[in-house]
Symmetry: C2
């Protein structure tokens, strides 16, 4: 048990609630001293708000400078093809009916985003000798994002095994099979500071409450029977 | 046949001779008008020389601005762990006996480098609707670089299949099974401009002739029975 406690884990923390709960889970397992937080600032609209959330979460979990890293991914803007990174594209509003939107790829899609992020996380993990990488992917989201599916993570772990010096680094997705309300319940159990997380795609000050991400978040808090501690615009 | 000719291909061009020959192969197959050149400037020592080579190769193949991209990867320096990106680390000299060095990972190793590069290439390919990505990986090099092995590319293609909106993008490695001298022979056949390629790890002006990369290059030209058109330091 002592050996396990000494193992290091990299946690990808975007500032959203899924990655926050993922961090809380890793924190419970490995202890605060073995957590390395990684934030990818990939030039998206809510960039500064998410970064601000990341920094608040860092403070909350008392992660020192030596165990956190922010990588500027703003060059992704150049590649384009997504409303999250391309300000000329319009954010598609959520239609309400989840089944209807099942086959539609949201305009917030960044091509191959999670692989770009994970490959950097693997490089970081290798340098600091961490064996685990935690990412807050959720299967429920996979209608829009193909790289949130469990079989994608199986494939990425195979690539890591083949493509690193020493095998042993593994990507873990502890909330992948949880519904959004179960993620909230788990976060509540672990005292995750939801008030420091951010989900809105449209606003950086007060959450809009109407974009895909806000609607999913609000519905999940509602189902979990918990009040979302962040503020929303009155529509 | 016409359909195939219309297909687009992204070619990763570092400025080295393997990627130059890979470009020549893709160029023969898809035609100059369907080639998109991608250069990753990842903050390595020979950065400006390689970039210069890339630009010369671009000119040689007459690839317009709309079909080439340079991505600045200098943030990799921050992650560290490699002599190519970390100037404080010493470049390990080549020991001469290839069998001896088989199990040694060279200090020029960048953790998970090819996966980082390929994930960006996939994003680019998706945006420009290319179906193929060409990379000049060589199996012979795989003693040092685990991500040069064929089974690594099998794994990465599985990840692409799982992680992209539409399947169909594929990474191709046309020189992977070739020895260095066979790569040169293929390049000669395709009139690849070897004088515009660069391999030296140590110098940016005149190739040192003694680093791993120079030794491999010189030996290959020697075996191919061709004179290397670039200049070397007199040792």
């Amino acid at each position: 048990m002592k050996e396990r406690e000494k193992e290091r884990a990299v946690v990808l923390v975007s500032g959203g609630m899924d990655s926050l709960v993922t961090l809380a889970i890793a924190n419970e397992k490995y202890g605060q001293d073995n957590i390395f937080m990684l934030h990818l600032n990939y030039g998206q609209r809510t960039e500064s708000k998410e970064l601000q959330c990341f920094k608040e979460i860092v403070k909350h979990y008392k992660i020192p400078k030596s165990r956190r890293k922010i990588i500027d991914m703003s060059f992704l803007k150049e590649i384009g093809g997504s409303s999250l990174t391309d300000k000329k594209m319009k954010v598609t509003p959520f239609k309400g009916d989840k089944r209807k939107s099942k086959s539609i790829i949201p305009s917030s899609y960044v091509p191959f985003r999670n692989t770009i992020i994970l490959s950097l996380a693997v490089a970081y993990a290798e340098v600091i000798c961490a064996k685990k990488i935690y990412i807050g992917a959720v299967y429920e989201d996979s209608s829009g994002y193909p790289d949130c599916r469990p079989k994608y993570y199986k494939a990425i772990n195979k690539v890591i095994q083949e493509g690193t010096k020493f095998t042993g680094i593994e990507v873990l997705t502890p909330v992948i099979y949880l519904s959004k309300d179960k993620i909230i319940a788990e976060g509540i159990r672990l005292k995750a500071p939801f008030k420091l997380s951010w989900s809105c795609y449209k606003s950086e000050k007060i959450a809009c409450g109407v974009c895909d991400s806000c609607v999913l978040r609000l519905r999940a808090f509602d189902r979990a029977g918990v009040l979302d501690p962040i503020q929303y615009m009155k529509n």
